[in-house]
């Protein structure tokens, strides 16, 4: 049964054991891949035939954009699991992932703006792609604010989960905005029908950077979930020991 399997891995103690094993590997992979990716994208890859060296911004911008959508989607799946099956780990995951996702979205918006200024001739336009990514950024911020806005953390998590699920409609809009409407932003170059329109010498550094971002994300999100579980353990221990003076507000 898949649900049985899900319950197996939803056990925080088992999760902690797995996370402790995976975490150092992910951290080392993130370091090595970032070093390799930065070397490839800044030194070993050619300038673009139109953009010259400005194309190098893309090696940060595109992986950050991918991560921003991937993390949000994974949080929405966790929200559904949290709402339907009441898994404690699913709620922990969404809470831990939100600031990282917001960070990637901010990186995507800022690097995109830095690229747009010399290439398009403007820092920002309100076209469908840019606007929908800005909405994604606000969804992350809104989720973080909402989850912490209730005295009862259970209710905050529930409200946050509903927001995450409502906001999921934005993800396909971001992805297909460049195909459905005229936008200033260029259409997809990698994940598209008919194969990538990006030369192999630029695709390889881009994919290495994407893996580096993914490894960084795995390491940070595991670290954040781990520390949250440990913090809760400490709180329960303090409460059960009746040491009223040491009970601090969380956060």
């Amino acid at each position: 049964m898949t649900t049985a399997l899900m319950h197996r891995y939803a056990n925080p103690a088992r999760f902690l054991r797995i996370a402790t094993v995976v975490l150092p590997w992910a951290a080392v992979a993130a370091g090595l891949l970032t070093a390799a990716g930065l070397y490839l994208s800044l030194f070993a890859s050619p300038p673009d035939y139109q953009q010259g060296d400005t194309v190098r911004i893309m090696y940060i911008h595109v992986p950050a954009a991918w991560m921003s959508m991937f993390i949000y989607t994974s949080m929405a799946v966790a929200a559904a699991v949290g709402l339907v099956w009441k898994h404690p780990l699913a709620d922990l995951y969404a809470k831990a992932a939100a600031p990282i996702g917001a960070g990637f979205t901010a990186v995507c918006l800022i690097t995109g703006s830095l690229w747009g200024a010399p290439m398009w001739g403007t820092w920002w336009v309100w076209d469908a792609r840019l606007t929908s990514v800005l909405i994604l950024f606000f969804l992350y911020l809104g989720y973080m604010a909402l989850v912490n806005a209730f005295d009862d953390p259970e209710r905050g998590v529930k409200a946050g989960n509903v927001l995450l699920l409502v906001g999921i409609v934005n993800v396909p809009i971001i992805k297909f905005s460049v195909d459905w409407w005229n936008t200033l932003h260029q259409p997809a170059s990698v994940v598209r029908m008919g194969g990538p329109t990006i030369d192999g010498s630029m695709l390889v550094p881009l994919l290495v950077m994407a893996l580096a971002f993914k490894a960084y994300y795995i390491a940070t999100v595991l670290l954040r979930i781990k520390s949250e579980i440990i913090q809760r353990k400490i709180q329960t221990l303090r409460l059960t020991q009746g040491d009223s003076g040491a009970v601090e507000s969380g956060a």
Binding site: V55, L83, M119, W120, G121, V169, I173, W180
Partner: protein
């Protein structure tokens, strides 16, 4: 188990409703969501954009860019291979502004049909390649700017 199932179905139903509502809204606001009109759009929406500021997008027609003697006014034609609109612009052009490449201009149509732009933005296409590859393609006679290829489909 049944309570979990009920919650799951409620959730799927809510998502379905939300998706439908979003799809309907986006379809209804289609015209407001496009960032620019193409020269062909102008044929059908001519009345709608009269005396109004809007954005015009397409390719800069090859060989159409002309600098006027005053040194700051540039004239060029924007095309989507079906229709063409003349554009006049006073100001600095972005780095990526080239003949055969995409462009988005904001401004108004003059009564004589020339589009007077206040702002010109370059639109990059989805192709990324090193200059050597372009040179090789040109030598082999295979090189075509991507936007022409895309709009010709």
């Amino acid at each position: 188990m049944t309570r979990k199932k009920r919650r799951l179905y409620m959730l799927l139903l809510a998502l379905l409703g939300l998706g439908t509502a979003t799809a309907l809204t986006l379809t209804a606001f289609q015209d407001n969501l496009v960032f620019f009109f193409s020269p062909s759009d102008l044929q059908t929406k001519g009345e709608q954009v009269k005396d109004r500021s809007f954005r015009l997008g397409g390719l800069v027609e090859d060989g159409s860019v002309r600098k006027l003697p005053d040194g700051v006014t540039v004239e060029f034609r924007v095309t989507d291979t079906q229709h063409t609109v003349g554009v006049s612009y006073r100001g600095q052009l972005p780095d990526l502004f080239r003949e055969g490449q995409g462009v988005v201009a904001e401004g108004k149509l003059r009564p004589d049909g020339v589009f007077v732009a206040r702002e010109v933005l370059a639109k990059h296409d989805e192709n990324y390649m090193p200059p050597e590859v372009t040179d090789a393609l040109k030598r082999a006679g295979q090189y075509k700017p991507a936007d022409t290829r895309a709009s010709a489909q």
